[in-house]
């Protein structure tokens, strides 16, 4: 596979920085990105498509009199396009207004190393091989139960690299690979069609378990066939990683971002050292977690990634910072600047938001629930109040637990509450942490959540 080499990308970034300074920028930063993705797609139970996407680009950020301008282009073979981009960044800065809180771009610091983020086997994988991965998954689902119908999914790999340089001498480079496979399935029996049940596996090295994904999607779909109504009441919930990802992304993860705190958009303002969750809850943001899906050495503005303690046994310890938010408070960035490739300026984002596992096995956690629900998929979490943490969502579906076992599922069950109250009501955490997007988390047992039956 032909990719841009480290030296080539760094040189492109450094040249853009010096050209911007020559054209009158007070400070300049250039970010060069390459992404190559190969995938095969499943539609209605068969593999119907294959795709290969190559995306490269350059983003240039400059300051002129403390006003910030940014421009990008995806045409990087052309010197003219690059020149033009630099000129546009400068003109944007000149049109903009000075920001008195702007205290400059970050300074150079040594990078830690990141483990298990690149696998040559993924890099070399072809779409035919991915077809094999997808077939294993499809067959596993189909063979599990004949009531199961795989709907969509696929298998894909990506190679991502980026280089960043700025006028303070930063020169960072990072590359990584990722492989993932996913399957969505329904089960049908008579006139009953279950909600879509979904499983996936994503890894940085070539060890996805396609068979497990297929079997698990099938198991969930079949277990959703038997439905019964449940009553409106206050109950115990096991939140699986799917549910946690939905609930936390728009609420807790926002609440620990320093810009939310500084802008009065976080209920955690002024709460460092205060108890914000049950004692069972310890959370790190770990940009260096070995093999983490968001692990890397360099953040979106060239600051070293790091491991930051956010919540320690329920007590709030720290927030997530980029360079701008940190300098506003006279602190150091926690390496949490994130970019959408070359298309955007840096924003504060969690890396691997790691809720530390407990000691109980998942089966044991479940076996101790006398009466409750287990929640996988949620709908509507993005309509939560991102500031207050109030949510009112639908479980699609919810599974009823009685005497430690799943007895049936129930559709249209709404869960309502406040995510910050939920965190205080966590009574146990299982040991089964897994990677899901920016979350690394185990199952959580939560007490006293209001559920509205249908």
């Amino acid at each position: 596979m032909a990719v841009l080499e480290k030296d080539e990308m760094l040189r492109l970034a450094e040249n853009a920085v010096s050209a911007a300074l020559k054209k009158g920028a007070a400070e300049a930063e250039a970010y060069v990105y390459e992404g190559q993705a190969t995938s095969v797609g499943i539609e209605r139970g068969q593999i119907t498509k294959s795709s290969r996407i190559i995306d490269r680009g350059l983003g240039v950020r400059v300051s002129v009199n403390r006003a910030i301008g940014f421009a990008y282009t995806n045409i990087i073979e052309s010197q003219n396009a690059i020149e033009d981009t630099i000129i546009k960044a400068l003109s944007a800065a000149r049109a903009s207004k000075p920001d008195q809180d702007w205290k400059g771009l970050p300074e150079k610091k040594p990078y830690a190393s990141a483990e298990k983020t690149f696998d040559y086997k993924i890099f070399e994988l072809r779409s035919e091989d991915l077809g094999g991965v997808a077939s294993v998954m499809l067959d596993a689902a189909a063979n599990a139960d004949k009531r199961v119908f795989p709907i969509e999914g696929g298998a894909g790999t990506a190679y991502l690299s980026n280089a960043i340089a700025n006028s303070n001498g930063i020169a960072g480079f990072d590359k990584g690979t990722i492989i993932e496979c996913s399957l969505a399935a329904v089960a049908k029996e008579g006139n009953t069609v279950t909600p879509v049940c979904f499983e996936f596996n994503a890894e940085r090295s070539y060890d996805v378990d396609a068979e497990w994904v297929g079997k698990e999607a099938a198991r969930l779909a079949v277990s959703a066939l038997k439905t019964k109504r449940i009553e409106t009441k206050t109950t115990k919930l096991i939140l699986t990683q799917f549910a946690l990802q939905e609930l936390l992304y728009f609420t807790l993860i926002n609440a620990v971002k320093a810009d939310s705190v500084q802008r009065n958009q976080s209920p955690f303002k002024g709460k460092i050292g205060a108890k914000v969750a049950s004692e069972a809850v310890t959370i790190y943001d770990d940009g260096l977690f070995p093999g983490g899906l968001r692990t890397g050495t360099v953040d979106g503005e060239g600051v070293p990634r790091q491991k930051t303690l956010l919540v320690e046994k329920g007590v709030l310890r720290n927030f997530l910072y980029d360079n701008y938010a940190a300098k506003k408070e006279g602190r150091e960035s926690t390496g949490n600047a994130s970019r959408a490739g070359y298309l955007s300026t840096p924003n504060i984002e969690a890396t691997n938001f790691h809720i530390m596992p407990g000691t109980k096995k998942a089966e044991q956690l479940m076996s101790e629930v006398d009466d409750g629900l287990i929640i996988y998929y949620l709908q509507g979490a993005h309509s939560s109040n991102p500031v207050s943490g109030e949510f009112s969502v639908v479980a699609t579906p919810a599974w009823k637990i009685r005497k430690g076992e799943i007895v049936h599922c129930s559709r249209g069950v709404m869960l309502a509450g406040n995510i910050f109250e939920v965190l205080k009501n966590v009574s146990a955490i299982a040991s089964n942490d897994r990677k899901m997007g920016q979350l690394i988390a185990p199952w959580m047992l939560v007490e006293n959540v209001k559920v509205i039956g249908k």
Partner: protein, 461 residues
């Protein structure tokens, strides 16, 4: 460029074994702004240019995307795409075929009164700053305000192996405005979106003062609002909530790809699934609306599609692939966000048709219920479960609007809920939005005020 495209399409069909090939060339410029409490975070400008190539070989799709117009690069990309499609086709049980369409040669030009590409960055910053001022100046309890602005201009060129060749200008102006207010321990949140394919003149009607006041007023009113009771209640929905219901709860089910993927509508075509007063359309031809265009990304003209007529399902939204499966004509709903992705079935402007009730008539007879005026977000599952979060709501007590309610949401099963629509208003509003289905699409949705006999309301703890 057109010569290169036709050479590549020819090579795909005559040399690399494709039965169909298409190329989409994109040449777009974007301007973006983010203001936080009036501070310009970064003024941004970008170029996104590239080519998407899609081929059908032995009934399987191959797709490639490259950020280059170089003829050699494109030739090697199309050869790879054909090879990949061929490899995939080996396991295919049901090969993909496409519905026939007329070949088209056209040049579509936009003629905005105010072309955003000709408006200086300073003026765009000025508009956003005025919105910010209107919001933060409304009340001291408004604590934060974020304004995102985007405009996109340029040209797309579409050419396929059947002889269709369309050059189409693109123009979008969009802004999202959010504000939060705080009083003691109560945090409230309010958002609004503006979107148009007409031009920058959208801000002449939706002036910064009007938008700003609407967003700020809602955040402040919610500070005093109560939380809703959970349970099942009669509700009146405003056009904004009806729109998101039509789009999320019904519209996605009427996308033929999702209908085929186990959705509940495939088996309900021609059947009654809603009360008599329910009529839904998807219409890509409304002038200036955020979801409008002349041709979709398969070169099929946009059209007005009747989805439900008087409670009966009359049609689905199709691309050429699903149209062939259902043996109907494609409806012009194949859209790709950009050259990096393949076109998929998307809505355009989706809405409920108005009838004859006044707002007062809708409230009449409700002893206790809710008036849901504006939504925060919505989502649906192919089994027909939907959820809509509400950002502006009021109690209805004895047929009158009562006190404000915050952080409510509604949920139910789409088909059950459609039968419970028992009265439809005579007013009509269409509003812009963005829809996520792996890719982002610019859309509109809307309708009149309606009454639903009963829906599940998620209350707070």
């Amino acid at each position: 460029m057109k010569d290169i495209l036709s050479k590549i399409n020819d090579a795909a069909v005559h040399k690399f074994g494709a039965e169909y090939a298409e190329l989409r060339v994109q040449n777009l410029s974007k301007t973006m702004l983010t203001l936080k409490e009036g501070r310009v975070e970064a003024a941004r400008q970008g170029i996104e240019s590239g080519v998407a190539l899609r081929v059908l070989v032995n009934g399987a799709w191959g797709f490639a995307s490259v950020g280059s117009f170089n003829a050699e690069t494109l030739m090697s990309a199309v050869s790879d795409a054909c090879k990949m499609a061929k490899a995939v086709s080996a396991r295919l049980k049901t090969p993909i075929r496409l519905a026939e369409t007329k070949t088209v040669e056209d040049r579509v030009q936009v003629k905005p009164k105010k072309n955003p590409s000709e408006i200086a960055m300073e003026d765009k910053i000025k508009t956003a700053s005025s919105i910010n001022k209107a919001i933060l100046g409304y009340d001291r309890r408004v604590k934060s305000c974020t304004i995102d602005y985007l405009d996109l201009t340029g040209t797309n060129l579409f050419a396929n192996s059947e002889g269709t060749c369309i050059e189409q200008d693109k123009l979008y102006v969009w802004s999202r405005i959010t504000a939060t207010a705080v009083k003691n321990d109560v945090f409230t949140f309010s958002r609004e979106e503006i979107g148009s394919t007409a031009g920058y003149e959208v801000f002449d009607a939706e002036t910064p003062e009007i938008i700003g006041k609407r967003v700020a007023k809602r955040a402040i009113e919610q500070l005093e609002a109560k939380t809703p009771k959970g349970g099942r209640f009669p509700v009146v929905l405003g056009p904004n909530v009806v729109g998101v219901f039509v789009h999320e709860a019904f519209g996605h089910l009427a996308e033929a790809d999702l209908a085929l993927a186990g959705g509940v509508l495939a088996s309900n075509l021609g059947k009654k699934i809603a009360s008599n007063v329910v009529t839904f359309y998807d219409d890509g031809t409304i002038n200036g609306a955020f979801g409008s265009f002349k041709y979709d990304d398969e070169g099929v003209p946009a059209q007005k599609t009747l989805l439900i007529k008087d409670g009966v399902v009359t049609g689905l939204m199709h691309n050429r692939e699903t149209a062939q499966k259902f043996n109907v004509a494609p409806t012009g709903n194949a859209r790709a966000e950009d050259f990096r992705v393949e076109p998929i079935i998307r809505m355009c402007n989706t809405f409920m048709a108005p009838r004859d009730c006044s707002f007062e008539e809708l409230l009449e007879g409700i002893r206790f219920g809710y008036y849901f005026k504006s939504f925060r977000g919505g989502q649906a599952n192919v089994d027909g479960t939907f959820q809509v979060g509400i950002q502006e709501a009021y109690e209805i007590i004895n047929g009158e609007i009562g006190e404000p309610v915050r952080d409510a949401s509604i949920s139910g099963n789409t088909l059950e809920t459609l039968f419970k629509v028992d009265a439809v208003g005579k007013d009509f509003e269409l509003g812009p939005g963005r829809c996520g289905k792996g890719q982002t699409a610019f859309i509109c949705d809307g309708g009149p005020h309606i009454r639903v006999r009963e829906v599940t309301v998620g209350g707070s703890a």
